[in-house]
Each structure stands twice: as structure tokens, then as C-alpha cells.
């Protein structure tokens, strides 16, 4: 048993984690650090998963499809009651923003780790959230204010008529949506009916509610969001903002804290808007207010996520807090702690920088299509300032039923240039085999001048700058040469240099190259970014002075 004292008493004795993957493991870890027991739930696809192994007790929910497992409110509440858990943490995705789930947990006499059900319902309804924003004097993105059910011909006609007023291009969004799912971009009026139906189908599949609405597309825009915490007394504070502009089709790919390039006054204004909205909504526990920032520097309220965000670690690293720990304390009725209040005071004057990349089982060469499969090699980076949140390892099968996110790689450093250099180094150390991931994309982005100098940060930037085929073509050439040379080398696995290294033992050949090279210069702690020649942009590839002649 962990050592306890009165001040650090665990908020609960036992909690249940209603999720899977890296976030479930992350919550189990926080629970254990707080001295609480953790109960996991799992589907048949996850019986051997890391979150199950880490938990003190695990309860099966059902078959792999989410609707038969992680989306089953009845089964999860029953598991919580049967296991003697006192609180339920929903993580992100799945049931995390379902008011009905939070209500069912409370009705079973347990504590839901998140905002109250009524607040989730009000803010989870994207249209109601926009009305709250208006009340709180926070400008929202223009669009329709009523939800549309595409099964109703009269409503379908009405929304098509309203589209002209919103203006094209516009976005069809799921009223119950979040996480970028169920969004369709419509450029011209004749595309609208098909987009409404497709968007509604995806919304129904993802959220169990096919209602959609229209929103004007603000472009180019940065995506900036504010982390809020609130307690039962009605006090709400902002823990700083994150920039999540590097997106593809509304899926965040890279997130950082703080948002680069904002002045302290802009930060204060942004944080104040988010807090106003949180107070107006009666927010408790944790939530994130998302804004679009247009070219003129104006912030437009987008939506509120009434849950822990995927990208919460960047805020943790910059604020020095553990957000999941704070969530548990707040859920147990504690007021915002002095630690949290001090971090909120510092939030507009950040003194360090954190960046997260989402490594997903997706193929960047095939328009980021899902690429599930079995991982054969899994080597994660290490060393100063590196955090890896993942729940997979070599040998694991990535199931096709769930979100393709398999790993979050987060770096922390004194400032943004140092964090970028550290991230580049960390990506160089990362080795994944057996499945295709978004790793090549991240390597390429970190070599882009527009990403490095932040001048071009915008949600549209990825589509304009990512050239997957060119990046892959170079890899194909290198892979073919390497495989060919390895083949000519005969029993190549015995070591020495394959065909090309004939006559030279591999150790000395490699040693000569490294010794004579210009790859590593300076002292260990001098992290300098080589912004020089283009050949550096090839990720792990480095050019060195040719060996002695």
C-alpha cells in the first residue's frame, strides 16, 4: 500500500476507467500515483491490452465493436457498481461527452469525473454552446443555430435554404460532434445535400445522433484552445492555451503549448473569454474552449470539449500540473488547489514550451487511410525532456475497430526552437515496424520552414505543404538500394557491410564514418538546429564530410 498522510489522502479509494488505449493507461497511472485502485473495462479485442494489465481489476464489456463494448452505458455502470468503484473517469472519445452517461453514473450513486451532466448536455450541444457564448459576450463562428435531422425532408429543405445566408464554403458539422468527426466541407450549393447525408451518417455512427448544422468556414485560421479547470464553488481558471493548427481534415496532428507568437495581452484576453464562457456555463472539473484565430488576430469561439483532451500533456508540461490528478481531486469536491491557482496566475507568461505529435496507424501515402496491423518493432525515444504516452508495444495488433492514435510523443524544453530540435531528435530515435504510421509526416513537417518560424500556422497548412508521394519516393529508392545491397552481401545478417562494404569489417567502416564525420559537434547540452542545406530535411538522413582520402 502507498504511504498516505492526511494532506495527500486519495480522493477516492477505487475508480473505474471507462476507456481503452493510451488514455486508459494514463488514467490508471494517475490513479495509482494518488494511491487509488483502478478498475479497467475492455472489449474482446483488448483482453490482453496494457490498460487491462496495469489495472487492479478488469471487467469485460463485450465484443470488439464500440457499440457492443466501450459505448455501452449499462454495462460500464454495472461494472463500476459491481467492482466497488466510487468514481468513473471517461477519458476522451467514447462516452466522455455523453450527458446520459454522466447521469447514469451519478444515478448509480457514483461520481462522474468531469463536468455535471447538465453542463455536458448544454455545451455538448454545439448549438446551445454557441448561445451560451453569445450570453457570455464571446464572439462565435457564424452559422445556423438549429439542429437538422436529414431524415426530415422539411428540415433538409430549410437548411439548404439557410446555407445561402451562411455563405460558401461552409462546413456541415455534427451537433453532437467533437474530435473532428462528422464534418464535411461544402464549396458549392449543389454539393450540400450529399454532404448533409454523408455527414449525418458519420455523425450517427460516431455519436449515435445524426443531427447536423452549418457553420461558415473561417480560413485561413489558427486553432487555439484554452484549458479550463473549475470547482464546485463556481470558480473557473484558465491554465493557458494550446495551438493545434496543424490539422488534416479537422484531425489534429501536432499540438503545442503555449500558442506561438501571442502577446501577453492577447493571451490574457483569450483566457478571459474562455473563463467567462466557463462561468456562464457553470463549468466544473475540466474542459477546453476551442477558438479559431483569423488573420486579423480575432478569436472566434468554436466549441467546448467537456472532457480531458488528447493533447492535455502539453499543458501539463508547461504548467507543471497533472491534470488527471486535479480532475480526481475536483471530482471529490476539493476546491481549486493553491498549486492550480498559482499555475493559472503564470499562464499568460509561459516560461517553457511543449510540443506533442500524434503517431497514428495511418498511411500518409494513401491519404491517411487507416493502416491497422501487427507491430513488429517498437523502439521509443528517451532522454531529456521526452514523454511518450502509449499503450502498445512490439507484438501488439492494432485493431481496426478503434481510433488509429497509437502513441503521443511529447517534448518539453525551455523555448520553442529548443523543443523543435528535441522533437526532431526524438523522432529520429523512434523506430516502428510492421505497420505504417504518420511518422514520415511528422518528420517532414519538422523540416518545413513555415512550421519552424510559425509564420504560416493555419489549419489549411498541411494540405498545402505535405507532399507525401515525394517523401515516400525517396524512401522507396533508399529501401530498394539497401535491400539490394543486403541481398548481394550474401549472409548479410552476419554483419560486415553487405556487398558494398567488401573488405572492410562493419565496425571499423562505421567507426571511420562517424569519427571523421561532422554529425555531432559541440558539448552534449548545446542543442543547435542546423537550419542549413536541404538535405537535412530527409529526417534521419544526414550529410557528412566524405571520409579521409
Amino acid at each position: 500500500m502507498p504511504v498516505k498522510d492526511a494532506a495527500a489522502a486519495p480522493p477516492f479509494r477505487r475508480i473505474l476507467v471507462a476507456n481503452r488505449g493510451e488514455i486508459a493507461l494514463r488514467i490508471v497511472r494517475a490513479a495509482h500515483e494518488l494511491g487509488m485502485e483502478a478498475v479497467a473495462v475492455y472489449s474482446d479485442a483488448d483482453a490482453m491490452a496494457a490498460h487491462v494489465r496495469a489495472a487492479d481489476l478488469a471487467i469485460r464489456l463485450g465484443p470488439a465493436p464500440p457499440a457492443e463494448s466501450y459505448l455501452r452505458i449499462d454495462a460500464i455502470v454495472a461494472a463500476a457498481v459491481a467492482s466497488g468503484a466510487e468514481a468513473v473517469h471517461p477519458g476522451y472519445g467514447f462516452l466522455s461527452e455523453r450527458a446520459a452517461f454522466a447521469l447514469a453514473v451519478e444515478e448509480a450513486g457514483l461520481v462522474f469525473v468531469g463536468p455535471p451532466p447538465a453542463v455536458i448536455a448544454a455545451l455538448g450541444d454545439k448549438l446551445a454552446a454557441r448561445r451560451i457564448a453569445r450570453l457570455a459576450d464571446v464572439p462565435h463562428v457564424p452559422g445556423t443555430l438549429e439542429a437538422v435531422s436529414v431524415d426530415r425532408p422539411d428540415q433538409l429543405e430549410a437548411v439548404i435554404a439557410a446555407a445561402a445566408g451562411v455563405g460558401f464554403p461552409l462546413l456541415v458539422k455534427a451537433a453532437a460532434g467533437g474530435g473532428g468527426r462528422g464534418i464535411r466541407r461544402v464549396v458549392a450549393p449543389d454539393e450540400l445535400p450529399a454532404a448533409l447525408i454523408a455527414g449525418s451518417r458519420e455523425a450517427a455512427a460516431s455519436f449515435g445522433d445524426g443531427s447536423v448544422y452549418l457553420e461558415r468556414e473561417i480560413m485561413p485560421a489558427r486553432h487555439v484552445e484554452v484549458q479550463l479547470l473549475g470547482d464546485a464553488t463556481g470558480q473557473v481558471i484558465a491554465l493557458g492555451e494550446r495551438d493545434c493548427s496543424t490539422q488534416r481534415r479537422h484531425q489534429k496532428l501536432i499540438e503545442e503549448a503555449p500558442a506561438p507568437g501571442l502577446a501577453e495581452t492577447e493571451r490574457r484576453r483569450l483566457h478571459a473569454m474562455a473563463v467567462r464562457l466557463g462561468v456562464a456555463a457553470g463549468l466544473q472539473n475540466a474542459a477546453t474552449v476551442e477558438f479559431l484565430c483569423d488573420r486579423d488576430g480575432s478569436f472566434w469561439f468554436l466549441e467546448v470539449n467537456t472532457r480531458l483532451q488528447v493533447e492535455h500533456p502539453v499543458t501539463e508540461l508547461v504548467s507543471g500540473l497533472d491534470l488527471v490528478v486535479e480532475q480526481f481531486r475536483l471530482a471529490a469536491g476539493a476546491p481549486l488547489s493553491p498549486r492550480v491557482l498559482a499555475a493559472a496566475d503564470r499562464a499568460a507568461r509561459p516560461t517553457s514550451h511543449a510540443i506533442e505529435v500524434r503517431i497514428s496507424a495511418e498511411d500518409p501515402a494513401r491519404v491517411f487511410a487507416p493502416a491497422p496491423g501487427q507491430i513488429t518493432r517498437w523502439v521509443m525515444p528517451a532522454g531529456p525532456g521526452i514523454r511518450v504516452d502509449t499503450a502498445v508495444e512490439a507484438g501488439d495488433r492494432i485493431p481496426a475497430e478503434y481510433d488509429p492514435l497509437i502513441c503521443k510523443l511529447i517534448v518539453h524544453a525551455a523555448d520553442r526552437p529548443t523543443a523543435l530540435a528535441r522533437l526532431r531528435r526524438a523522432l529520429d530515435e523512434t523506430e516502428i515496424g510492421g505497420i505504417q504510421t504518420t511518422l514520415p509526416f511528422h518528420r517532414a513537417m519538422l523540416a518545413e520552414p513555415g512550421f519552424i518560424d510559425t509564420s504560416a500556422l493555419a489549419t489549411t497548412w498541411v494540405e498545402a505543404h505535405w507532399d507525401g508521394p515525394a517523401s515516400r519516393a525517396r524512401a522507396v529508392r533508399v529501401a530498394s538500394l539497401a535491400a539490394g545491397l543486403a541481398e548481394l552481401g550474401g549472409a548479410a545478417s552476419d554483419g560486415p557491410g553487405g556487398f558494398g562494404g567488401s573488405g572492410a569489417p562493419v565496425a571499423s567502416a562505421a567507426g571511420t564514418t562517424i569519427g571523421a564525420g561532422m554529425v555531432r559537434q559541440g558539448s552534449d547540452d548545446a542543442i543547435t538546429v542546423d537550419s542549413g542545406p536541404g538535405w537535412r530535411s530527409a529526417g534521419r538522413a544526414v550529410a557528412v564530410d566524405r571520409w579521409p582520402r
Binding site: 495511418e362 478503434y402 481510433d403 530498394s480 545491397l485 541481398e487 556487398f499 538535405w535 538522413a541
Partner: protein, 209 residues
């Protein structure tokens, strides 16, 4: 070119058929015709110039155990420099159907499934394929699953005529809806799946004649 002109040691390397994208090239890698003339000078462990597509190339592979390796290309970077690329070589698997050797090579995070075979054999196979190609011209096209997932919509039935690019199926994988489109125009000869079916990579979905 008569087979006798092909170096018996030469290998053809390219992206494996299952992973190949349009435009992926295959290259030929061979030892120099007379390796002895390229032996390093006194104390110089310099490269031995393998022939890549028939051209002597300053490139070599350094191995660091079973998996890790580094390709060093001397001509690829600015003058006087080497371009070094770290990579991982997977184990070799023999494809029993074709006699080719397959291996995964990971470069810059790209997972490239590579196929290696002797150049002589590749030439013979290409010749055989050309022969067969004439007979099968205009034959049925099998649309197979390239991602695993669940079928959420089937837009065609047997007998339908479809245009190239027309949506034929919607597959849900990892919460995303993926539309599958007809590779060419024709008549739907067979539909192998129904709504709700779980599919794996390679499953036959639709045959278009």
C-alpha cells in the same frame, strides 16, 4: 537482350506488388562486372561501386546487427559529402508463389515492403506476363479490400453498370467512413459482401466486368 548478357548475380529490387503505388520504380543492383578492378587501394576501405541500373555508383550499406543499417550515398549530397540514411531491415520472407524474396525496410518512418529477385528471373516473368496480358485484356476486374473494416453501405447490385470513379461501397475503419470507388467502367458481375460484414485486407468485394 539474351539472358546470357544478364549478370547472374544481378538482382531486381522494387516495392512488393501488394504495396506498390503507381510510378514506384524497380532498380537493378549488381556487383561490378569485374570486381577485382575496383578493389580498394592500400589502407583505403572505400566503396566498391556496385552497379545500380548499370551505372557504377558510390553507395554502400553498413549493418549494425540484424535490423539497423545505414545507407551511405556519396554522390547524393553536395560535393564532397556523404548522404547517410539510417534504416531498419526486416527479416527476409520467401514468397512461395513467385520465388521472390520479401522484406520490410523502414526509411524515415516509411514502411516499404520490398521485393527482391534475380534479374534473370524478373526478365523471364515479365515476358510471361506480357504473353498472358493479351489473353486477359478486357477481363473482369476484382476489387479487393485494401483496409480492414466493416461494410456500412453497398451502393451497387449485380447487373448494375458503373462508371469509373463511381462509389460502390462504404467501409468504416477506425471510426472513419472510407468510400470505395469503381476502378473502371463496366457491369457489376458479383458483390462479395453485404452491409455489416467485417472485411480483411485482400477480401474480394466486387467484380466488375
Amino acid at each position: 537482350m539474351p539472358d546470357g548478357d544478364i549478370d547472374a548475380r544481378a538482382v531486381r529490387v522494387g516495392v512488393a506488388a501488394s504495396a506498390r503505388l503507381e510510378g514506384d520504380p524497380a532498380i537493378t543492383v549488381a556487383p561490378p562486372p569485374d570486381a577485382s578492378t575496383h578493389l580498394p587501394q592500400d589502407g583505403d576501405p572505400g566503396p566498391a561501386f556496385p552497379f545500380v541500373d548499370g551505372i557504377a555508383t558510390d553507395v554502400r550499406l553498413e549493418r549494425f546487427g540484424e535490423v539497423r543499417a545505414r545507407l551511405v550515398e556519396s554522390a547524393a549530397g553536395p560535393a564532397g559529402t556523404d548522404l547517410r540514411t539510417d534504416l531498419q531491415l526486416g527479416p527476409v520472407r520467401v514468397d512461395p508463389g513467385h520465388g521472390t524474396r520479401l522484406r520490410e525496410v523502414v526509411v524515415d518512418g516509411w514502411r516499404i515492403e520490398v521485393e527482391v529477385e534475380f534479374e534473370r528471373r524478373a526478365v523471364l516473368r515479365a515476358r510471361a506476363r506480357r504473353g498472358a496480358g493479351v489473353a486477359s485484356h478486357g477481363g473482369p476486374v476484382e476489387v479487393r479490400a485494401i483496409i480492414p473494416g466493416r461494410v456500412v453501405a453497398v451502393s451497387v447490385v449485380v447487373g448494375d453498370s458503373v462508371e469509373a470513379g463511381q462509389q460502390i461501397l462504404v467501409v468504416e475503419a477506425m471510426k472513419m467512413q472510407n468510400e470505395l470507388r469503381a476502378p473502371r467502367e463496366g457491369a457489376v458481375e458479383r458483390v462479395g459482401v453485404a452491409v455489416g460484414d467485417t472485411i480483411e485486407v485482400g477480401d474480394l468485394l466486387v467484380v466488375i466486368h
